[in-house]
């Protein structure tokens, strides 16, 4: 019987968006009877549990609350209602590189980020070589990270996260930054981590990749958990596989929408 790794119990997270920041704007808005702020429920009554060692794919459209859910599990945010419980150390790739300070060198940022992910100084020292080697930033290690390319940024961030030896590993879509060989290297590393019995949470739209990485899929839609189960069924569900006929009819609609987006 595997241990419970993550428990998410009726979790709700609501955001308040203020439209106006200065007093003048607020005054004008209230005179015109415009709304001053709006509530927006990003995650709505979501419940599930994950056992240690499971690899879960989190899918859904953009804005369906995937990142918020990940942040709640990571502990960066607290749920407004309900409860999130996790066991052990969490490492994540939520917005890689954010938190790097441009004026500090790669080495200094490496130490700071490792510390934030819960590594002690001794542990960082021990893994330093491995991290640098995996990140493959070579002689740029002692250059301020403001001189790094976005690929190098992502590589260093990912490299730190995978070397934490976490019990739960969270990977957001941001992995998509790097080039293809690097992506491949990252995913191989994640498979390795998965093999070691770490719980994995993988957010991606890439169905093929999710199929190979995960043994369970969660699908979010507008903050609600719509599907929880087998990978293929989940991907099937996500595509809303209804009849082909209606597909034709919808094409014109979708094109219109696309036009407005462009």
């Amino acid at each position: 019987m595997a241990q419970r790794s993550i428990v998410v119990d009726h979790v709700v997270k609501e955001f308040t968006m203020s439209y106006h920041r200065t007093m003048k704007q607020k005054l004008v808005a209230s005179v015109r009877r415009l709304p001053l702020q709006e509530h927006f429920i990003a995650v709505n009554d979501v419940s599930f549990t994950v056992d240690q060692g499971e690899a879960v794919g989190l899918m859904g459209l953009n804005g369906s609350g995937k990142s918020t859910l990940l942040k709640l599990i990571n502990g960066v945010m607290r749920p407004d209602k309900g409860k999130v419980l996790t066991r052990g150390r969490i490492a994540g790739l939520i917005a890689t590189g954010a938190g790097f300070h441009p004026q500090m060198t790669g080495r200094e940022n490496l130490y700071l980020n490792s510390a934030i992910l819960g590594m002690s100084e001794a542990e960082t020292n021990r893994k330093f070589e491995q991290i640098v080697e995996f990140a493959d930033i070579g002689r740029f290690l002692d250059t301020p990270v403001s001189h790094y390319s976005s690929g190098m940024y992502a590589r260093l961030g990912f490299s730190i996260a995978v070397h934490v030896d976490a019990d739960i590993f969270l990977a957001d879509e941001v992995l998509a930054v790097g080039d293809r060989p690097f992506k491949k290297k990252c995913l191989a590393k994640m498979q390795e981590i998965r093999q070691q019995g770490t719980t994995i949470f993988y957010v991606s739209h890439a169905t093929a990749s999710v199929r190979s990485m995960c043994d369970r899929v969660l699908v979010l839609e507008k903050g609600h958990l719509m599907f929880d189960g087998d990978v293929d069924e989940g991907i099937h569900f996500l595509q809303y596989d209804d009849d082909e006929e209606s597909d034709e009819g919808l094409d014109s609609l979708a094109d219109e929408e696309l036009g407005s987006e462009v």
């Binding site: 240690q52 954010a98 990749s209």
Partner: protein, 343 residues
């Protein structure tokens, strides 16, 4: 009845419509991204079972200031990050934190010493002034940097799992780092001038330092959270701090305030309600009054050097500051839950 029915039909239709749209969107997204990520097959062999020796706990930290203080290593690294931020592209770097107080000292010494003659009747006026400058500088910097700390480090705050109180507290560490060499300098001057240390003087200094440290922490924690909501607070703090140098007895002796207090007790009580003023008076007992020779003491005492109820007052102020710190922590926690959408 009919109308109501129709309306629900309408909204049902709209829902179906929206769902169809979402479906279309999803299909397009999936088709476009199906091969966005390379496929890496799972490592062969059975998966290792990992036993985690920990309880199921909430991932978000709840320890507040106490937990923040216990994470020495992270605190230290964040303080270093702040220093790097502060002195990015500056030639003098850390030296700037000494240039400013040195200039201030020179100006105050000349204006108040030679123009207003406040040094008359105050032996070792330079040290009297310098004590004030050092510790007011500590407070000023801790509060103003603390207020800005969360906003300027917002990229880090958003991915951080440790308590966010580390930022205002790291700001205090930075302020302490800046003032430490000045305090060493002050001690050195005192030793050269001939220091007669007594137990009560040391205790007074300690009490004064504690008052300033606790008060600065409370103000930093409280205002760092408020500043996330309205950036006006960092300007308010900046404005208030301009007065701080005049609101503590350093350019003029405490005796003057005491004399005014005999006529206007309310003024005196308001003046002494400022924890920083109390702190400075107590610290002067250590760094200045213990230098003054006995024959001068009577002369000085024509005005007083400290309130007669110095100890009682100091302890009460310290307790009040601790209560204020608890209050600041509570406010911080309430405001903190809305940080992610405000940053």
């Amino acid at each position: 009845m009919r109308a109501a029915n129709k309306r629900t039909d309408d909204s049902d239709d709209r829902e179906v419509d929206e769902r169809a749209k979402a479906a279309k969107k999803a299909r397009r997204l999936v088709r476009k991204n199906a091969d966005a990520m390379p496929v890496v097959e799972a490592v062969g062999g059975p998966q290792a079972e990992r036993i985690v020796n920990a309880e199921l706990v909430e991932p978000a930290p709840r320890g507040g200031i106490v937990e923040a203080l216990s994470q020495r290593y992270v605190l230290h690294l964040i303080a270093r990050r702040m220093l790097a931020q502060m002195y990015a592209n500056s030639v003098l770097g850390l030296l700037w934190s000494y240039v400013q107080p040195a200039m201030r000292f020179a100006v105050y010494y000349l204006v108040f010493g030679f123009v207003f003659h406040t040094h008359l009747g105050t032996p070792y006026f330079a040290l009297h002034l310098f004590t004030g400058i050092v510790f007011v500088h500590l407070f000023t910097e801790a509060w103003s940097q603390g207020t800005r700390s969360i906003w300027t480090n917002r990229s880090l705050v958003q991915k951080l799992r440790i308590p966010r109180e580390v930022f205002p507290i790291a700001a205090i560490e930075v302020a302490a780092l800046h003032t430490l060499p000045q305090a060493v300098l002050l001690t050195l001057f005192c030793i050269i001038a001939g220091w007669h240390l007594t137990v009560s003087a040391v205790l007074a200094g300690l009490l004064g330092f504690l008052i300033i440290a606790v008060f600065a922490t409370a103000m930093g924690v409280l205002f760092s959270a408020l500043n996330v909501y309205y950036r006006d607070f960092q300007n308010i703090v900046g404005t208030l701090l301009q007065f701080m140098h005049f609101l503590v007895p350093m350019m003029y002796p405490f005796g003057r305030i005491w004399r005014i207090g005999l006529l206007h007790p309310l003024f005196y009580q308001l003046y002494m309600a400022n924890p920083v003023a109390n702190g400075v008076v107590l610290l002067q007992q250590l760094f200045w009054y213990s230098l003054v020779e006995h024959k001068h003491r009577l002369h000085v005492l024509a005005g007083r050097t400290a309130p007669p109820d110095m100890w009682m007052r100091g302890i009460i102020v310290l307790i009040a500051c601790v209560i204020f710190l608890v209050f600041a922590q509570r406010v911080f926690r309430r405001l903190e839950s809305k940080f992610p959408e405000r940053l």
